[in-house]
């Protein structure tokens, strides 16, 4: 509930500050990821790996302001007796450029894991920054992202004490398209419960093709 309020506030804020007359540009980026999920709940590391498909739509509202919506889905296949799981995710994100190479981001994500035994939903709110370093004369950008997740709500589990996301990669500009490759990692450290410390992480290698539509 708290997360939903934060998402609504963020969207309202973005809508309010977007100048009405600004030039708008829409970019759609289909993506494919190879994701690896690891969890240690006191019984050893459980690992599952699989492809995720999805897309990100980004609407540029002004010279330094953008809103992005993300939708992903895929399957992660467990190794060594670990249950297979399906994963789906919806996310919204706003960003504002604060300098020639730095922009700030805030977003919210709703993710669901489903196994044959049950379903678990994750709701997160993240606040972070993106650094973009141009090289090769601006044709290529090195991208680094870092975000803290101050709000993480997981069904059936206490809120993690530490949660963050980090990513790095490259973006190649080819005319109106952008080809990106990125390594990302999410990490959740849950508080010790009955002597057990639960740690989860989701790492992904993502290939993304951004197409500017207008």
């Amino acid at each position: 509930m708290r997360a939903a309020r934060l998402i609504a506030a963020a969207i309202f804020l973005l809508g309010a500050v977007a100048p009405a007359t600004a030039q708008r540009a829409l970019t759609v980026a289909p993506l494919v990821s190879l994701a690896e999920h690891r969890v240690d709940a006191g019984f050893g590391v459980e690992r599952s790996l699989g492809p995720i498909l999805g897309a990100v739509g980004t609407l540029r509202l002004g010279p330094g302001l953008a809103v992005a919506v993300r939708a992903l889905g895929g399957s992660l296949f467990g190794a060594n007796g670990v249950l297979d799981r399906d994963v789906g995710e919806l996310g919204v994100e706003g960003s504002v450029v604060t300098g020639p190479w730095l922009s700030l981001q805030a977003g919210a994500t709703r993710r669901a894991y489903g196994t044959r035994l049950g379903r678990q939903t994750w709701t997160t709110v993240d606040i972070g920054a993106v650094a973009r370093v141009a090289f090769a004369g601006g044709t290529i950008h090195g991208v680094g992202r870092a975000a803290l997740l101050p709000v993480v709500s997981v069904t059936g589990l206490p809120d993690p004490g530490v949660a963050f996301r980090a990513a790095t990669g490259l973006e190649y500009g080819i005319r109106a398209a952008t080809l990106g490759v990125e390594y990302s990692l999410e990490r959740y450290d849950f508080p010790i419960d009955q002597g057990v410390r639960r740690v989860e992480q989701l790492a992904a290698l993502t290939l993304r093709l951004g197409l500017r539509l207008r």
Partner: protein, 350 residues
């Protein structure tokens, strides 16, 4: 009280001059009345008083010319033709534009006046009036006169510059309008400055010569011109070639991204197995290779095509803007109007 005293002093000071003007004009008016009533014998003494060196009051040039003219007219009526010619000549010498109105004077008077003109060569230019002239549609007009048939040169020249422009050269007798299109001998609009119009004449009857000269100032009336855009500041333009330093930075950036990928994978995976970091390795390798390739490519080529294009667009935009500005300025210059005003002597000009 002090103001009153000053007013009285000023009034007393100004009174003699006004009275002098009044006396000459009054006497001239009385002479005209006598002449109109054909009381020539009463008019003559009054007119002689006015032209006498002993006349104590101020006489303007026009009054003096008028007095000589009526003296000649009176004497012509009295049958004293030689004396009439002398007075008419005196009037003509002082103002070559002097003429007799055929509707007011008798044929004998007109014939006597013509004889006086034949004996006197004088050339003159009528005083220049302030005027605004659009050289595309109108001309600057000068009125010159030669009292009888004479070979006349009318030349216009800028004070202290260049050779004169001949506006008229030929025989003339009487008044003539000479037009000037505002251009000099090089067919360019005359620049602002002080000019002189010189008239020189040689009689075709007596061989006598005379000359006259007037001065005038010429100014240009032109709409405010626009400044063209200055040359593009190199700091505004994007770099078109990658420097060696930038190429080295590309390597550093690629290695930085690679290191970040490995750092993220290594740090986070440590307590969760740590062996699986293929994704990070892929990104790290890609970044490192990209940095090196960019470095090598820049060393060989170095151009930044999108910056070259952007700068060319920027330059073309500036050039087209300047072409438009020059066009508008040319239109304004073409619409330059000339402002002519009388001047006295050879001065610095406006």
């Amino acid at each position: 009280m002090r103001r009153l005293v000053w007013a009285v002093v000023l009034a007393v000071g100004a009174a003699p001059a006004l009275a002098a003007q009044g006396s000459t004009a009054e006497l001239l008016g009385q002479a005209h009345q006598f002449y109109e009533r054909l009381e020539v014998e009463r008019a003559l003494p009054l007119l002689r008083q006015i032209v006498s060196p002993n006349w104590p009051f101020e006489v303007t040039p026009d009054q003096r010319v008028d007095a000589y003219k009526y003296l000649g007219a009176c004497l012509a009526l009295a049958g004293k033709r030689d004396s009439a010619v002398l007075y008419f000549r005196a009037a003509i010498e002082r103002d070559p534009f002097t003429d007799l109105d055929p509707s007011l004077f008798t044929p004998a008077q007109l014939a006597t006046f013509d004889e006086a003109r034949r004996h006197t060569l004088a050339v003159a230019v009528r005083p220049i009036q302030a005027a605004r002239v659009d050289p595309r549609t109108t001309r600057v007009s000068f009125t010159v006169v030669a009292t009888h048939a004479a070979l006349v040169d009318v030349k216009l020249s800028a004070i202290g510059a260049g050779s004169p422009l001949v506006l008229f050269q030929g025989t003339m007798d009487g008044v003539r309008e000479v037009a000037w299109d505002g251009l000099l001998a090089n067919r360019r609009l005359a620049p602002p400055g002080r000019y002189t119009l010189a008239v020189a004449g040689r009689s075709r009857v007596t061989g006598a010569a005379d000359s006259a000269r007037v001065y005038f100032d010429l100014r240009h009336e032109i709409a405010q011109l626009e400044d063209t855009l200055p040359d593009l500041d190199p700091r505004v333009l994007l770099p078109e070639r990658i420097s060696a330093e930038a190429a080295r930075r590309d390597v550093a950036a690629g290695l930085g991204v690679a290191a970040a990928a490995l750092l993220i994978a290594g740090a986070a995976n440590a307590d969760l197995g740590g062996s699986e970091r293929g994704g990070a390795d892929v990104v790290a390798a890609t970044a490192a290779v990209t940095g090196v390739v960019a470095f090598l490519a820049h060393r060989r080529q170095g151009a930044i095509p999108q910056n070259v294009t952007a700068n060319a667009r920027h330059r073309a935009q500036r050039d087209s803007t300047n072409v438009a500005i020059r066009g508008r300025n040319a239109d304004r210059i073409a619409a330059t109007a000339l402002l002519v005003s009388p001047a006295a002597g050879e001065g610095a000009g406006p």
